[in-house]
Amino acid sequence: MTKQIRQLDRVVIRFAGDSGDGMQLTGDRFTSETAQLGNDISTLPNFPAEIRAPAGTLPGVSSFQVHFADYDILTPGDAPNVLVAMNPAALKANLADLPRGADIIVNTDEFTRRNLAKVGYAASPLDDDSLAGYAVHPVALTSMTIGALAEHDVSKKDAERAKNMFALGLLSWMYSRPYESTLRFLERKFAARPELVAANVAAFRAGWNFGETTEDFAVRYEVKPAKMLPGTYRNITGNAALSLGLVAAGVRSGLPVFLGAYPITPASDILHELSRHKKFGVVTMQAEDEIAAVGAALGASYGGSLGVTTTSGPGVALKSETISLAVALELPLVIVDVQRAGPSTGMPTKTEQADLNMALYGRHGEAPVAVIAPKSPADCFHAALEAARIALTYRTPVILLSDNYVANGSEPWLLPDVESLPDLRVEFATKPNGEDGTTFLPYLRDPQTLARPWAVPGTAGLEHRIGGLEKADKTGDISYDPANHDFMVRTRAARIETIPVPDVEVEDPDGDARVLVLGWGSTYGPIGAACRGLRQRGLSVAQAHLRHLAPMPANLGEVLGRYDKVVVPEMNLGQLAHVIRAKYLVDAIGYNQVRGLPFTAAELETMLEEVLKNV
């Protein structure tokens, strides 16, 4: 049977199943095939909440969404065009997100009475008309897989497990994906058990062939490669990019990276990743708690390493006292906060941007630090380098505010040329800097950067003591002098305030926008997509996105002044908006959602359209 081939410019597919169904892997593979083809991609996994729920239940559903297109895209997509539902729970949990008309591929084998009951379906939705309006494709995925592997020398359990490869084969066929990388992947993954390689490859092929032959799938789709800058790409998650950024910072500074970390969702993967790069001299230490983790990192910085600590909100709260010490000691320190939904334990697997206030203000005394945020998964690489640059150059703690959305989402990343990465070399102090030529003044500052000398233990002649008590200017001796304290407080503030950061860029292709949308961090994608949507419909809107939250770009005040209205969408109750209002006395309007989910481009577009109407 020859199938019709239809061209699409973009598709959103969501693979959903039970935690044990291998949906993350399936999604990953599909993404990889898609990347090979040259589409632009954006992905988002959705893990179940922390505990593995019993099979087949709603809390046990795991899903992976991939958005790919023949042009550059900004988000993993608002609503899936296709849902692959491996069981009733996966169907039920995801149905609400589907637009009418979407394709639903269901594994009918799992629609048993027992499984249906588990999620509160009285009757099978496949049998009544509750799915009318969707294009439902019932496929006996499990049994067909088992059937396809009848001749293979694998257990029934292993055969059944391969059903995700059947699904992948089917979808790969549907969207005409090149599958070589998946075959290679299976060979690598099961290298130790060749029978499993064979079985999984067979399952994949069976799925592919099923698409080819069955009548239910009459159409095959193609999404042409996107126009992308020339170069080598890989698909990367935010946490992976951030980890590589830290490794790169080590290489480019020539300093050993020391990571002190305590596991916490969704930051743990950075610890896992960095612990695999010992050959770069990266030392990772799983500490007894967050306080020890940041303490060890600070101790390592004192000794001349690039000290880093990675955590999420609850961990940053615990680290505050030590960060305040780092402010007083004026040593480099990178604190990565992969934000999750709070307060308290909150929803650990969900995203949020509600730690900005804490990053800016969450310490006792006047304890300013630099704060920056990546805007997309791949950008985490560069943000990490930038955090390291600021920490090393200005001898200051830097808080890097990632979040669960960028951390676990992925996108293609144009591999940078290593030589083009910023040069982060620093000079340790090697000799006395006092006027007399013999004294060492640990708090004598570089007039340019206001940074104090970094004199690491082991340097003869520079023995000195530092600590958390207020220090006399220059000498660093303990001082209770009122004027000195005032001076030091202001100097520490100035040290952050005067860090030169790039001007914020405004995207306003029409040039006549009267409304500016200002964002920070992971909202970049949805905001950008929304603005595009508006422009495509002939509306003018300007977008600016902050990477630097402290200090803020020097031109920001001027930029804000150019627009009649400034809208600040945030996944919190208005934290950036608050700062903007205070600093620039601009009546910034917050658009806030605190749902544990990224914004959808569509809702932002609707909201902005409303705003545009009223200027």
């Binding site: 990889s32 990347a35 040259g38 990388s181 992947f185 490669p225 992308m228 800058l229 020339p230 080598t232 790409y233 890989r234 698909n235 590589l244 490794v247 790169a248 290489v251 020539g254 050993p256 020391f258 790069h277 010992k278 050959k279 770069f280 001299g281 990266v282 030392v283 230490m285 500490a287 007894e288 306080i291 020890a292 303490g295 060890a296 990192a297 600070l298 101790g299 390592a300 004192y302 000794g303 001349g304 390493s305 030590t322 010490l325 000691l329 591999l415 290593v418 030589e419 233990p457 082991g458 003869a460 520079l462 023995e463 000195h464 003591r465 600590g467 958390g468 008590l469 001796d477 303990i478």
Partner: protein
């Protein structure tokens, strides 16, 4: 490796230019003098020595040492020192802490440093009181202690710092006392030689808020009968004329004190700090009475176990040994690992 050059440092080389600001008569002075007097022996250049402390009277210590030093925050010195020591195995890292700093707010970092066997020399100045905050009871204060925060007496049993350290898998555990410089220095010597965490409790008099806490161990009338000086390989006897001895009664697990005259020599316990099983040192740690009678000082335990630092550094070294490219080349390879595709 060639013989190290003798640096010929003196105690004076270890005095910083900072005015020492403890209360007159504070036991911390004696400890400072003992440490400064001992340091030259190490024959380590001053710049390779770091003192890290928390907060407390005792924790002012680093300011007075002409080495590198950090006066950090309350309770966190072991954690900070761990990062320093692990990343800089070339340094000699000393932690100075108090009974509140180490055992109250800092208890967790302490026990983890000991379990890990981080290469730190930890000096705990135990004055059984909070000095710096002006006299509240501490986790080593005796039950029923009347202080500002416990006007009718404290309700909780104290830690025995040595028992706690042993329960936390410490490889080196010792006790000494501010007033006995020679002994203090002998313990420092042993601690310095130990690879891994060396935990040293130093009884220290706070003459302002807990004066005389250790007087029975210092006063001529009692000290000889109260102090048990542990010497590796020697039978444990004490008292002015060695009239007391320590035995391990058969069937029991603890130790008891007997009169030497009435005890067969072979029943007297011969001190061996190297026993692998910490049960012996633990038993020793339980010997003292509430009145400080039968207080052993010296090295209770000193056994070998790879330090955390060394294992971590070996892992890094092993990984680095596989490298045959420049860091930049390696980085380029790392960035480009996994599935990549190229657009021309």
């Amino acid at each position: 490796m060639s013989e190290p050059v003798a640096l010929k440092l003196t105690a004076k080389d270890f005095k910083s230019d900072q005015e020492v600001r403890w209360c007159p008569g504070c036991g911390d002075y004696a400890i400072l003098a003992a440490v400064q007097g001992f340091m030259p022996e190490l024959n380590i250049p001053r710049e390779n020595i770091v003192f890290v402390s928390g907060i407390g009277c005792s924790s002012r210590f680093p300011y007075y040492m002409n080495t590198y030093g950090m006066h950090s925050i309350h309770g966190r010195a072991p954690a900070i020192a761990t990062g320093l020591s692990v990343s800089r195995p070339d340094l000699s890292v000393w932690v100075v802490t108090g009974d509140g700093d180490a055992l109250s707010i800092g208890g967790n970092h302490l026990i983890h440093a000991l379990r890990r066997n981080v290469n730190l020399k930890i000096l705990l100045f135990n004055n059984r009181i909070y000095g710096l905050t002006k006299g509240q009871y501490s986790p080593t204060s005796e039950v029923g202690k009347i202080t500002k925060s416990t006007p009718v007496g404290s309700a909780d049993a104290p830690f025995n710092p040595l028992s706690l350290a042993l329960g936390a898998e410490a490889t080196f555990v010792a006790r000494t006392i501010d007033s006995d410089r020679k002994h203090l220095q002998s313990v420092l010597r042993a601690a310095a030689q130990h690879e891994g965490s060396a935990f040293v409790e130093i009884y220290q008099n706070c003459n302002i808020f807990n004066d005389g806490a250790f007087d029975p161990l210092k006063e001529p009338a009692t000290r000889d009968d109260f102090l048990i000086r542990l010497e590796h390989g020697q039978p444990i006897t004490f008292g002015a004329g060695g009239q007391f001895c320590v035995v391990h009664p058969p069937g029991g697990f603890g130790l008891e004190v007997r009169e030497t005259a009435n005890t067969p020599v072979e029943e007297i316990v011969v001190h061996d700090a190297g026993v692998a099983d910490p049960a012996y040192a633990f038993a020793l740690s339980r010997l003292p009475g509430l009145d400080l009678s039968n207080t052993p000082i010296g090295v209770f335990r000193s056994v070998d176990r790879p330090s955390y630092d060394s294992v971590v550094q070996e892992q890094v070294a092993a990984a680095k040994a596989t490298v045959d490219r420049t860091p930049e080349q390696q980085l380029a390879a790392l960035l480009g690992s996994g599935d990549t595709w190229t657009i021309l």
